[in-house]
C-alpha cells in the first residue's frame, strides 16, 4: 500500500487540503504481498477484537477480498458433525479498508478498528 500509494499520496493530500473539512473516506482494500509480520499483525488484530479467541486464517487472507469471515470449526465425530449444521446468526466479519494512506482492519460485526502498521494495501 505505502509503496503503491507513495506516488499518489501527495496528490491525495493536496486534493484533500483544497477542500476545507474534507474527510478521507474508507474504501475496501486488499493486502499486497503480506509478509509474515503483516500476517501476524492481521491475526493479532483479529484475535484482539475477538477477545483472544483462537483463530485460523489462510496465508492469503485479505489478498483476494477485503472481507474476511470467521466461523466455528465443525468438531470431530459422527454426531458432532451436525454441531454447525443449523446456525442462527451471522459469522464474525472483518473488513480491510484504507483511507488512502493507511490500512485499517474493521470488525464489522463488532466495534474494533485497528490500524495495521506492517501491512501494505491497495483499494479493492
Amino acid at each position: 500500500m505505502r509503496r503503491r500509494f507513495a506516488l499518489l499520496a501527495p496528490l491525495i493530500v493536496a486534493a484533500a487540503a483544497c477542500r476545507p473539512g474534507a474527510v478521507r473516506e474508507d474504501v475496501p482494500a486488499l493486502l499486497v504481498a503480506p509478509t509474515p509480520a503483516a500476517r501476524d499483525e492481521v491475526a493479532a488484530a483479529i484475535a484482539s477484537a475477538l477477545r483472544g479467541t483462537p483463530i485460523s486464517i489462510a496465508p492469503d487472507a485479505l489478498t483476494k477480498a477485503s472481507l474476511l469471515t470467521l466461523e466455528r470449526r465443525e468438531p470431530a465425530g459422527p454426531e458432532r458433525r451436525t454441531a454447525t449444521g443449523r446456525v442462527l446468526g451471522m459469522p464474525e466479519r472483518f473488513r480491510l479498508v484504507t483511507d488512502g494512506s493507511r490500512c485499517y482492519l474493521v470488525h464489522e460485526s463488532g466495534t474494533a478498528r485497528v490500524e495495521l502498521l506492517r501491512a501494505e494495501c491497495v483499494p479493492e
Partner: protein
Amino acid sequence: MEPPFHKALRIAALAAACAISACSGGGVASNGQQVNVNGGTPAAGGGNSGGSNTGNAWTPGLFQPAGTFAAQCVNPRSGIDPATSLPFPDVQGSVTSENDWLRSWSHELYLWYDEIVDRDPATLPTPAYFDQLKTFATTPSGAPKDRFHFTVATSEWQQLSQSGISAGYGVQWAVLSSAPPREVVVAYTEPGSPASTPPADLARGARVLEIDGIDVVDSSDSTSLALLNAGLSPAQPGESHLFTVLDLGAAAPRTFTMTAAVVTSDPVQNVSTLDTPTGRIGYLLFNDHIATAEGELIDAIATLEAAGIDDLVVDLRYNGGGFLFIASELAYMIAGPVPTAGRTFERVRFNDKHPVTNPVTGTPLTPVPFIDSSLGFSAPPGQSLPTLDLPRVFLLTGPGTCSASESIINSLEGVDVEVIQIGSTTCGKPYGFYPADNCGTTYFSIQFQGVNDKGFGDYPDGFSPANTPGFAGAVLTGCSVADDYDHALGDPAEARLAAALGYRDNGACPAPSGAASPGLTKTITRAERDGRLVRPPWREIRTLVP
C-alpha cells in the same frame, strides 16, 4: 433504507452472540426468566448439593434453576474467558454440582425434557450423567429419536476459522465400503487444491488403492488402518503421503505424492445450463452453507436467471448445512417474491415452556422469513436478490444432505413450491441447539425444532423420494437413486442428474436404488453406493474399519 429483516437480524444477532459463543453456564428458571449464572450458592465440594428446591438433596421431579449450579466445577478454570473478556466464573464444586447444572439446564431447555428419566445427580460421573439426559425413544424407522447429543471441549468449540479453510488436500473422500474389500473414492475436489492440480489431478470416481504402500482394499490390522486414516486426513499443512489410485476409466493405476496445504473450499461449483428439447435446465452444486456461499449463490442464480432457464437442479447431496439465513436466501431466489411474500421460511419451536420467547436469547420467537436481500455474509448487504420464480425445483440429495439443507426442502414445501427429490433419504435433522459451556465443557442438547410455514417439521428420518425401497422418511415426489461415482457431478449422464432430467421429461423414475433412512443404516455396504463422507481433520470420523 435498511430492510426490516436486516434490523431484526442485527438485534437477533446481538442476542444470539452469546448463544453461538457457547454461553457460560447460564440458564432459565422454569418460568422463563433469565437466571444470573452467579446467582446460586456454591455447592459444598464433593457433597450432594441436590437438585431439589431445598438445595440439599435430590428430590425426583423438583428442579432448581440451572443458574443455581452454574460454574461450580470439579476443576475450576482460572484466567480470562475469551467469550466474555471476564475472569472465568468458576468456583470449586463437585461432580454432583456439575450434574445438578446439567439436570436443571436440560429440564429447562431440552426439547423433550418430559421424556428424560430423572436420576440422582450424585450417582454418575458427569459425562455418563449427561448421556442420560435425553430421550431414549425411537423414530418410526426405529432410529434413536435423539441422535445429536454430545459435548465438545469449550476451548475447541471457541476456535474460529476463516470461512472455508482447512488443512488438507482439497478432496472429499467417500467411503463406499468401510470394511474389506474396502472402497474409497473421490466424491469431489476443490478447485486449485493439491487434489485437483498436478501431480494428483484427482477427479470424481478415482479409487484409492494404496496409501504410503499400504493396501486400502484389504488391510485389516489396526496399525495399517491408523496409517490409512492418517493418510486420508492429514493433520497439518505440509504433510505428504504417497497415493496409488485408479482413475475413472483408466486401465492401470498411477502413483503420486500429495501434500496437504491450507485449502479454501468453493461451496458453489459447476454452475451450468443444459439445453434439452423441452427446455433449458440450470444446474448448480451447493456443498456448504458457509459465509462465502452467499455471494457465490447470488452470482449463480443471476447467471441462471440471465440464461432464461426453465427448470433448476440444485445438487445438495454433500451439503450438511450451516448458516440458516443462507438457506433462506437460496429458497427465496428459487421461489421468488410471489409465493414467499409474508410467509415463513422457518419458525423455531422450543419446548412447551417457551411458546413465545427464545429462552436463551430472551428475544421474541419471530419466524425467519424468506430473505429477499443479501445479509452481508460475503455479498454487500442490502442488495435485492435475483430470483428464478420457479414453481418447482429438482433437489439432488443423499444422507449427507442435512440441517439447513433440509430446511430448504421443508421451507419450499411450506409455500407450495414443488420439491422433486432425486437421490437418497436425507439425514433427518430438523433440530438445533444453543450450545452451553459449563466448567470447560460445551454441551449440545437439542433445544428447538424448525418448522415451515405450514407448521411441519417432523422429519426425524429425513426426506425420502416416493419410491424409496424399505422405510421412507417424510415422502416427497421424486426418485430414489444411489450416488453415481462413475460420472462427474453436473454430467447429464450422472445417475441422479439423469434421473432428474428423465423425470422432468416423462414423470418416470429408474428402478429405485437409493438408500433408505439413515437411521436404519448400521454399516455401509457396497450396494448402497451412497458412501460415507470423510471430513477434514477436525471433522474426521475414523471411517475405515477392520
